[in-house]
Amino acid sequence: MAVREDDDTSKRIPSPMSMKSLAAPVKSAVDKYQLLPEFLKVRGLVKQHLDSFNYFINCEIKKIIHAKDNERIVSDINPKIYLKFLDIYVESPSVEEDHIREPLIPQRCRLSDTTYAAPVKVDIEYTRGNPIQTEIKKGHVIANMPIMLRSCRCVLYGMDDDELARLGECPLDPGGYFIVKGTEKVLMIQEQLSKNRIIIDTDKKGRVSASVTSSTHERKSKTVIVMEKERIYLQLNQFTKLIPIMVIMKAMGMESDQEVVQMVGRDPRYSGLLLPSIQECASERIYTQYQALEFLEKKVVKSRFTNQKVSPMTILDDVFLANVPVHEGDFYPKCIYVGVMLRRMLEAILNADTIDDKDYVGNKRLELSGQLISLLFEDLFKTMSSAAKKSIDEALTKASRSSSMDISLHLRKDWITHGLERAISTGNWDVKRFKMNRKGMTQVVSRLSFIAALGHMTRIQPQFEKSRKVSGPRALQPSQWGMLCPCDTPEGEACGLVKNLALMTHVTTDEEESPLITLCYSLGVEDMSLLSTEELHSLNSYLVMFNGLILGKHRQPQRFANGMRKLRRAGKIGEFVSVFVNEKQRCVYLASDGGRVCRPLVIADKGVSRIKEHHMKELRDGARVFDDFLREGLIEYLDVNEENNALIALYEGEADSNTTHIEIEPFTILGVCAGLIPYPHHNQSPRNTYQCAMGKQAMGNIAYNQLCRMDTLLYLLVYPQRPLLTTKSIELVGYDKLGAGQNATVAVMSYSGYDIEDAIVMNKSSLDRGFGRCIVMKKVSAVKQAYDRIIMPQMSSGKGGLDSHMQILDTDGIASPGEIVRPHDILINKQSATVSRDQLISHKVLPDSAYKFTPVKHKGTEGETTVVDRVALFTDKDQNMVIKFIIRHTRRPEVGDKFSSRHGQKGVCGTIVQQEDLPFSERGICPDLIMNPHGFPSRMTIGKMIELLGGKAGVSCGRFHYGSAFGEPSGHADRVEVISETLVRHGFSYSGKDFLYSGISGCPLQAYIFMGPIYYQKLKHMVLDKMHARARGPRMMLTRQPTEGRSRDGGLRLGEMERDCLIAYGASMLIFERLMISSDPFQAQVCRKCGLLGYYHDKLKTGFCSTCKSGENVSTMKLPYACKLLFQELHAMNIVPRLQLTEH
């Protein structure tokens, strides 16, 4: 009965005063929207990065130094001398200047091109002196580690807005990136296939295979078991050939074939499939472990370095299924693991449905900054340790052993510091241990717009190459729902491969395994090692897998899963532990590993939401935070696998008795970029994708500290506005505070013919009043080297007064802010010493003659008036003075500038029209912009039309309207009916079409015109940066042909296809003119006799052939210089081209 009531309320159309009524308590369906801002408040938008990094700083790094191999450095010379790491900790960022440490703030790092890094300190125990005594030293610095902004070690951690502002930081900036050498770098989220899991797949040849990519701290390996010609083999890099699987089983001590068959299962179909493999093994006469090992011995690959073979036992122990631990030579767990692999493989052969989907998000793991840095750190730590060991040994072998040696001094901190800095700034991840060599792991944070920066933090990069022409990985996966944004992906090459996280997605970090394993056993899991092979797959039990390891089996899997979930909801185990009962595979999967994507959902008991109205009230009153919901078991995180065990209702009203969870808000399936689109669910889907790409190019505000930043290129809008038609995501993300666009009154009509092909017509008066005005700021920086000097502007020789290019210089010889700069103006009046270094040292003061004038000049296009916005001076790490200029240029829109609405509808400005020529409405409203109606039918962007209606209603009634995705049922999007009612109430037509008068003739237009405000973005592509033409100009040195490209003032190429046209047309003189006269004409001396090129003899005043040694038969002819060059190059490679001339 209660369910029915819910139904009614959720389907109710909100009344015109819906916003007020929404805030009021609703009887049964609880409005859970409020959870979202609360969630984002505790989580922020880049929590995945921060959590991952925090986990590394707090736990992972400690595990690394306490690892068996890392903990001690012992000298080979004298094993009594050692160094032991007791503890490691990362402090908050600071910088050492003149032996004084002072805290470092991020803004200072950005401005002065330094790294935002914190000292990593260790407590060490080491031996010292003679006789040897142990000492403990605390707080020894071993590295300076770059710190992620807003992480728990960052100075900004936990600061409120005022404090952030005081440090020159934008409160809306999410953090989650590093500052290395002054540039902001994001470590991209890396997507990869799950590690340590059995994946059943078919390979290129169509063979069914089971593969496991093992990854432990010590080793990474890939184990593949394939079925070839009905027989099953193991494929491992350490073995030269495919190894029959039965041999492996025997080598691991499972000598009885019966046991293997039992392990796979008693089903006769399985044993039938196994038979050929067993037969093969028998035909090789391998019956015992010893024989098997002997067989394997021959197949082992020689090591490349030592040229020695490793024993097959070691390979089976370390490499083969490296993730399954072997205790004291007990291979039983590995045997069982192989058995499970075989069973799943054979199942896949019998039933192709059970083949795993590689694109399934549950089989994916996201590698985040913490994991990546920890990989690198461990590697560098090991290098540092081995370097330290080497230098200790060296010191010990030296004679001067009398001096008591302090071995802590052998720990050089530059190793790690430089290694980390280099990796983050270049993006090259080289981990020697795993032979990992990845490029492009970091990217410079795109600060084109606020949204671009945010979108950058949530981007996921794929690991595999992009060129593959397969559609599978690019297609939208149903399991992406709620986890990855379905809209936000680039077009072209990386389409579908590069993804973005959805608004509520969280990425897990590793969680301690051992307590969970113990817990499982106490909840009734029967330990695998106690089970016989026969019992493994008994009908009444499920296997229990924990992070890819087989724990054992359980007779009541559902009860076990429920028990685990109960514990999780009660907060006894971590909230991100996932419990997934796979009925098909008869397995219970538990996962606590890092890199899984998950999202919060409201728990429902038999379809009744656990969140009641009083909970929400407490939340609104501030008596309750998001974490309380989590702690009290009202909300839980589900990962993609566990979602398969849940029945999730979209709305409370739709829940029935089988429902286990309820969505918090449907629009959270979209990401940050797609969240800006109003009514995206009314648009054709590719349009939303286009907008996601374009939103990142829109100009607007970058951050609150945008005018204090020194970016290389900055685009700002002069008067950015908040969109009239907002979405809930916009408010959550902060786009309403840092907008990138303006609300333009758009008339959808055809006008003047300059609006074809998506061009837009703009109102000149609107432009005069500041619409679409933008500021482009570029950085110019220069270093004053040690023996440079900057001097006062000189008077130009002859006349009094300054040199015309020196007028903007201040008395210190540096251009001052606020001055108008023209091309070739001098920004820094700098001189460099011409004398050699020795002389520099001998002379204290050099004479003026020793200096050469090396000014820094402004390079800009002629006629463009730019202004020096700011000048910053600082000292770089080599103690040189660096001068940075920000050159500002304010631009008003012109014909050819690119604009776009938020619906993937881009267009260039086609013409600019006087206001009096534009149509006007009955109320005197004149459009800012005219858009051609042909933009609609093929694009099907209904959302844009609703945006217009909603915007118009918004300005008439004075309330921002909402257009959140899928928001109509929950009241987060205004319905068209309600909008139309508002319009009518304010005297507009319900359809949004107005009666317009032509501005030219004064008569009414013959149609009603759809007119209202639409949020328009100005994109960064402007004609001013692109237009290019040349009559004459620079030529290339080698070929004497005109240069290429706008930046080099290059020519416009008449390409081969254009040439083809001219040939077809028979315009031979034009071809001649284009390809020779206007390109690279050259007068060559050609010998008629030998056909080779000669030269012009200055004394004889004729051409001269050096081959014939005469000037008699030499003619002058014109040919392209490139042709002459070709001949000479052919000569050089012993090919003689001869020219045969005829009289013309």
Binding site: R769, I775, Q914, Q915, G924, G987, Y990, Q1006
Partner: protein, 374 residues
Amino acid sequence: MPRLSALDMPDVPMGQLPSHLEQQRTRVSCKSDAPLHTEGIQYSGSYASMAVDNSLRLDSFSKNFRVEVVRLTEDEIEFDMIGIDASLANAFRRILIAELPTMAIEKVLIANNTSVVQDEVLAQRLGLIPIEADPSLFEYVSENDAAHEKNTIVFKLDVRCKKDDGRVKVKSSELKWLPEGSELQMASTNPNPSTNPNAKPKTYTSFNCRQDSLPEFSNKPLRPKYGDVTIAVLGAGQAIDLEVHAVKGVGRTHAKWSPVATAWYRMLPEVALTQEVEDGKAEELVSKCPVKVFDIEDIGEGWKKAVVARPRACTLCRECIREKHWEECVDLRRVRDHFIFTIESTGALPPEVLFTEAVKILEEKCERIIAELS
């Protein structure tokens, strides 16, 4: 209906148009899907077959032309212009927007600007401030003219925010008139200033006399029309020191010279009930209209019918004819030669003056054409 031979049909009445044609000629019909007959019929011989002369005659125009002022406030006027063609009404509108001169800030000489507002943006904002100055008292500045008291108004803006002032909003009232012209000295081009120590330092203007000594400005100081236009916001320690030169110009060059915020007209709405609308339907009709065009009239014996009470209020939302069957009873029209003209002045000139100025400009243009033709 009995069949009728074309020859037996009654003659078209001569000398007057049948009602439907008359309506086409004088009204724009606003149907629910699109307006009909929007263009007026210009050709004098359009109705020659009916012996109706459609030519425009000066005497009839001057007899019928009327202007009725509906509303007049300091910065806004609404008046009816009756008996005129759309092209002429539009000409006035266009002239008002683009061709009436005003004074606006064109040059900004920035001595110091440490505010967050960039120089160019500040200059653009200053340009848009309406200035209360009669443009007819000034001359246009041409390319090589020096700035003198007859073509330039100089204002000074010198504000600073002291360290403990918090934030200061710079309003347009801070613009101070400099009747003596520019106070900023040009960078001396004279190599040796010692030759003529008494010479006045060269500034950016060359005024012959103080502007406030001129009779037209002596008791009416020049200033921005509104004192509450925010120019910039200063933070602690920031300062703006600049001088602006306002010159005469027209709206066509830049919107800042446009004397009107906007000027527009609408044709007089005419709402007709083609059928009697009674009782329930009448109430429905009245409730449909958001601007209350219709009223209910008692016709006795408890019968009610709808009447058109306030046609002028009609905004053409077409709500009343949205449903198909209503279009049969309600006819929305616009009177083609009756314009409700609205002028919103920016403040430089009062709105009623603006219109007469516009008429003068049109007159001038006509005279020029006549002069060029003859």
